[in-house]
């Protein structure tokens, strides 16, 4: 079963608007929650990440909100720009023996219209 559920699949936002992408998980052993940004033809790139001991992390226009009790976390992109148009993946990881196992959401394709 899918360990990390991501929504929506696609999102259209006007320039200057707020983009919100949501993820939910079940396994409370997860201890690291990154978001990746991927442009066509490129590999995913780490955008921002959070650990469950904090409820929010902000880096520039990007904010992660984390709700431990609800087992949900979300990415907010403030003042969205056309250059933000990309596919975004959430992920969750946990330590399994000798490595960190990552589980990825299915991705959200964001289109920011000028």
């Amino acid at each position: 079963q899918q360990q990390v559920k991501q929504s929506p699949q696609s999102l259209i936002v006007q320039k200057g608007g707020i983009s919100i992408i949501n993820c939910a998980y079940e396994n409370t052993a997860f201890d690291y929650f990154p978001w990746y940004q991927q442009f066509p033809g490129k590999g995913p790139a780490l955008l921002i990440a959070i650990r469950p001991d904090v409820s929010e992390k902000k880096e520039g226009r990007f904010t992660i909100s984390f709700n431990k009790s609800a087992k949900q976390f979300s990415l907010h992109i403030m003042d969205s720009q056309p250059g933000d148009s990309a596919t975004y993946f959430c992920a969750a990881s946990m330590r399994l023996g000798n490595f960190n196992k990552f589980y990825f959401g299915s991705g959200t394709k964001l289109n920011v219209k000028p």
Binding site: G43, P44, F99, K101, F102, G105
Partner: protein, 112 residues
């Protein structure tokens, strides 16, 4: 792409043929990973390595094998390619268990 190269970048092959994809890093990172990316599935782990000659299976390892004879190289082999292995393959590296993974540019593989 954090000193990671993948080769080839694109490959078209026929069912039943062997295929080897290469991941090369210049970062001297200990951990290396192979993922496949398919629409609606995100990224799924195929195999990973935690050191030279130390490898283990991920969640979708059937039909794939790996080898790591040097720190900088991690090879993914499809012994007999099938159409279900048509996908985009990404290599990733991480320095330690600090959770940050860096991804390569990907290899688009088509099995006809």
């Amino acid at each position: 792409d954090a000193g990671i190269t993948q080769s080839p970048r694109h490959k078209v092959t026929e069912t039943g043929t062997p295929v080897t994809l290469r991941c090369h890093q210049t970062e001297n990172h200990r951990y290396m990973y192979w993922y496949r990316q398919d629409p609606g599935h995100g990224l799924r782990l195929i195999h990973y390595s935690y050191g030279v000659k130390d490898t283990d299976k991920g969640e979708v390892s059937d039909g794939y094998s790996v080898s790591r004879s040097k720190t900088e190289d991690f090879l993914l082999t499809l012994e007999s390619a099938t159409s279900s292995q048509t996908s985009v393959y990404f290599c990733a590296i991480s320095e330690s268990l600090n959770n940050e993974q860096f991804f390569g540019p990907g290899t688009r593989l088509t099995v006809l």
